[in-house]
C-alpha cells in the first residue's frame, strides 16, 4: 500500500471509478434513477441533515455523476467537484454561492460570447453586477476591485482567439482583494493547464467540449480547489453563516476544504435544479478516459493547421498562441507547454464575405456553434456566437467581422489542410 502519485492518464481512466459494489460491473453503470431507498428513518434523517454520505435524489447527487465529479476533481487537483447540466449552469451555481444582490464580480473581457451574455443580461436581473477587465492589462483588474467585489472570473485559454491568460498574475490580484479566482478551463482541459496549480480557487468547465470530447453530451462541472478561506469577515454567508435550509449548519466548519463544492450541491444544485443526466455523465466519463490522447492530437493538428494558414496568401493574420510569432506565445510556453489548445481564429484579407465563402466551401470542417469535438469545426463568430455583442465588443473580444474560428479535430492533419486549401484557393 504505497503512497504513490499516479500519472494523469491513469487518473483519466481510473479516478472515481471502482467496480460496482453490487454487481461487480467494471465500466461505471448508468444509475438512471430519480431516487434511492433509505435503510430506515434514521438513515433518511442523517442523509437529509448532511450527517451521512449517501444518495437521496438525483437532483442532489447520483452515483454515475459522482464518478465523473471525483474524476475531474482528481484531474484538476481539487478537493471535490459538482457536475451540473451545462457550463452555463456551473457559472450560475458558483456565483449564487458567492454573490448577494448588489454585489459585483470582475470578469475578463475575453470570454465565450455566451458567458458575456449571461453575465451582462441574465445575472443583472439577479442583482449580480459584472465589471469588465482586460486580461492583457493586469492592472485593469486591480482598478476594478471595490468593497462589493466577491469574485474574479477568467478563462485559461480564452474563446474565441485562443489567447492565454496570465492566471498567476490575476490570482495575485484576487488574493490581495480577498476574493476567490474562478477559472473557466474549458478550452485547455486539465491535460493542458491545471489552473489550481497557478492559484485558481474554483475551476469551472463546460464538459460538453474537450472533456466529453465527442460533441454528443452537454454537461458542466465545478471544481473546488480547497484553497479559499470562506470564514473571514462574513463576506460569504452561504459558506460561513448558519444555514436555515439545514437547521443552522455552517458549511465551512463542517466540510472544511471541500465546503464550497458542498455548498454548490446542497444550496445551489438542490434549489436551482440544473441536474446532469446520469446518461450524459456516462458519455462524458467515457470521453475523459481518452482525454490525454485526444488533447495531444487536437493540439498537434491545430499547430499544423495554424502554421499552414499563417503561410497562406489569402490569410491576413492567425491568432494561435502555439505559433512562435504570436503575442501569447510566451504565456503559452509557461502555462500550456504540451500545446496551446485547438481553438483559434484567423482573419481573411477578403473580410466578412471571404469568411462566409470559406465556411460554405469547407467539406470536412462542420459549420456549427460548438468547440472541442473529435470533428473539426468552423464558425464565423461575428454572425453567430458573438452576434449579440455590439461591434466594439466584438472586436475587443476577438470576434471582429473578418474573423473565422476553428476548433481543430483529431482527423489526419493532411486532410484538414487539404480541405482548407480547396476552400481558400478557389
Amino acid at each position: 500500500m504505497s503512497d504513490r502519485l499516479p500519472g494523469f492518464s491513469t487518473l483519466a481512466v481510473h479516478a472515481g471509478a471502482q467496480p460496482d459494489p453490487t454487481t461487480g460491473a467494471r465500466a461505471t453503470p448508468i444509475y438512471q434513477t430519480t431516487s434511492f431507498v433509505f435503510n430506515d428513518a434514521d438513515h433518511a434523517a442523517s442523509l437529509f441533515g448532511l450527517q451521512a454520505f449517501g444518495n437521496i435524489y438525483t437532483r442532489i447527487g447520483n452515483p454515475t455523476n459522482a464518478v465523473l465529479e471525483e474524476r475531474v476533481a482528481a484531474l484538476e487537483g481539487g478537493t471535490a467537484a459538482l457536475a451540473v447540466a451545462s457550463g452555463h449552469a456551473a457559472q450560475v451555481v458558483v456565483l449564487q454561492q458567492l454573490l448577494q444582490p448588489g454585489d459585483e464580480f470582475i470578469a475578463a473581457r475575453k470570454l465565450y460570447g455566451g458567458s458575456i451574455n449571461q453575465f451582462t443580461h441574465a445575472f443583472k436581473s439577479f442583482g449580480w453586477n459584472v465589471v469588465w477587465a482586460d486580461p492583457d492589462d493586469i492592472a485593469s483588474f486591480e482598478r476594478a476591485v471595490t468593497p462589493r467585489t466577491k469574485a474574479i472570473f477568467i478563462e485559461s485559454i480564452a474563446n474565441p482567439a485562443g489567447s492565454i491568460t496570465d492566471i498567476e498574475a490575476i490570482s495575485t490580484v484576487a488574493r490581495k482583494a480577498g476574493v476567490p479566482l474562478i477559472v473557466d478551463n474549458t478550452l485547455a482541459s486539465p491535460y493542458l493547464i491545471r489552473p489550481i496549480d497557478h492559484g485558481a480557487d474554483i475551476v469551472v468547465h463546460s464538459l460538453t467540449k474537450f472533456l466529453g470530447g465527442h460533441g454528443n453530451s452537454l454537461g458542466g462541472i465545478i471544481v473546488d480547489a480547497g484553497t479559499f478561506d470562506w470564514s473571514t469577515g462574513g463576506k460569504y454567508p452561504m459558506l460561513s453563516e448558519p444555514r436555515p435550509e439545514y437547521h443552522g449548519i455552517r458549511l465551512q466548519e463542517t466540510f472544511g476544504n471541500f465546503a464550497f463544492a458542498i455548498a454548490c450541491r446542497v444550496l445551489g444544485l438542490r434549489d436551482l435544479g440544473p441536474a446532469l443526466s446520469p446518461f450524459n455523465a456516462f458519455m462524458i466519463l467515457t470521453g475523459i478516459e481518452t482525454l490525454p490522447l485526444r488533447m495531444q492530437k487536437h493540439c498537434d493538428n491545430a499547430k499544423a493547421v495554424a502554421e499552414y494558414l499563417a503561410g497562406h496568401p489569402a490569410v491576413a493574420s492567425v491568432s494561435y498562441a502555439g505559433l512562435p510569432s504570436d503575442k501569447y506565445n510566451q504565456l503559452a510556453r509557461k502555462y500550456a507547454p504540451k500545446g496551446a489548445g485547438a481553438v483559434f481564429t484567423f482573419s481573411l484579407k477578403g473580410g466578412y464575405d471571404a469568411g462566409v465563402n470559406l465556411v460554405s466551401k469547407l467539406q470536412l470542417f462542420s459549420h456549427l456553434a460548438n468547440v472541442g469535438d473529435t470533428r473539426s469545426l468552423v464558425i464565423h463568430p461575428a454572425s453567430t456566437t458573438h452576434s449579440q455583442l455590439d461591434d466594439a465588443a466584438k472586436i475587443t473580444s476577438g470576434a471582429g467581422p473578418d474573423v473565422v474560428r476553428l476548433s481543430v479535430g483529431i482527423e489526419d492533419k493532411e486532410d484538414l489542410i487539404a480541405d482548407l486549401e480547396q476552400a481558400l484557393g478557389a
Binding site: S2, H14, Q18, D40, E70, A74, G77, G226
Partner: protein, 194 residues
C-alpha cells in the same frame, strides 16, 4: 511528522488500529460538526466516549457524557478534540497525565497547535491536526466519493456496499495526498499567518 500534509498510510494506520475514541467537546446539538463525526464514527464501529462537562448526566446516542478525560476511568486509544486552537494545550496537558497514555491525539478541522503537538509527540503519541476523522475515514474507504469528493484513492477491486454499523476497508491504493497539494499549501499559509 509534517503536519501540513499527512501521508495516507499514517492516517490509515491510525484509523485501522484505534478502537476507542474520546471526543472532547462532543455536542448533543445535531447540526454541530462534532455530533456528525460522533454519530458517523459510532456507526462505523468505534467505541465512542463523549466528553463535555456541561452535559454530564445526559447521553449522546446512548453513550453517557463524561466531564473530562481524567473521569473516563478506562484506557482510550484516541482523543479527538473539537476545540479551537487556543484551547488545545490544556486538553493535551490533561491527556499526558492519563495512564496508559492515549496512542493518538487528533485535532479537528481548523484546530492546530504545534507546541501542544510537539509535547504529545515527545512521549510517542501520534498527532493529527486540522483534519476530521469522519472525512478521512470516508475518503480512504471511498465512501465519501458519493459526495463528489476527491478521495485520492484508486482501486480495481470491488468494495462492499456499506451498511449500518459496518467497518469499511481503508486499504486502497493511494494518491498520497499530492493531488490536493494546493489545498494543503493554503492551509499551511493560513496557519503560518495566525
Amino acid at each position: 511528522m509534517n503536519h501540513d500534509a499527512y501521508p495516507d498510510n499514517y492516517i490509515r494506520g491510525i484509523l485501522n488500529s484505534v478502537k476507542s475514541i474520546a471526543m472532547v467537546g462532543a455536542s448533543p446539538v445535531n447540526v454541530r460538526p462534532s455530533y456528525f463525526a460522533f454519530k458517523y464514527l459510532a456507526q462505523r464501529g468505534y467505541d465512542m466516549i463523549p466528553i463535555n462537562p456541561g452535559h454530564v448526566g445526559k447521553e449522546l446516542l446512548g453513550k453517557p457524557f463524561v466531564a473530562s478525560l481524567s473521569d473516563i476511568g478506562r484506557p482510550v486509544d484516541m482523543i479527538d478534540i473539537f476545540r479551537n486552537s487556543s484551547h488545545i494545550m490544556p486538553v493535551i496537558e490533561e491527556a499526558l497525565t492519563l495512564d496508559p497514555l492515549p496512542k493518538v491525539i487528533w485535532m479537528q478541522l481548523g484546530a492546530r497547535d504545534d507546541a501542544a503537538a510537539a509535547k504529545a509527540e515527545a512521549v510517542g503519541i501520534k498527532v493529527v491536526m486540522n483534519r476530521c476523522p469522519k472525512i478521512e475515514y470516508g475518503r480512504l474507504s471511498s465512501e465519501i466519493s458519493w459526495m463528489g469528493v476527491n478521495s485520492r484513492t484508486l482501486s480495481s477491486k470491488r468494495a462492499p456496499a456499506p451498511t449500518q454499523g459496518m467497518r469499511l476497508s481503508l486499504n486502497r491504493m493511494s494518491v498520497g495526498g499530492g493531488d490536493t497539494a494546493a489545498s494543503d499549501r493554503a492551509a499551511k499559509n493560513k496557519s503560518e499567518q495566525s
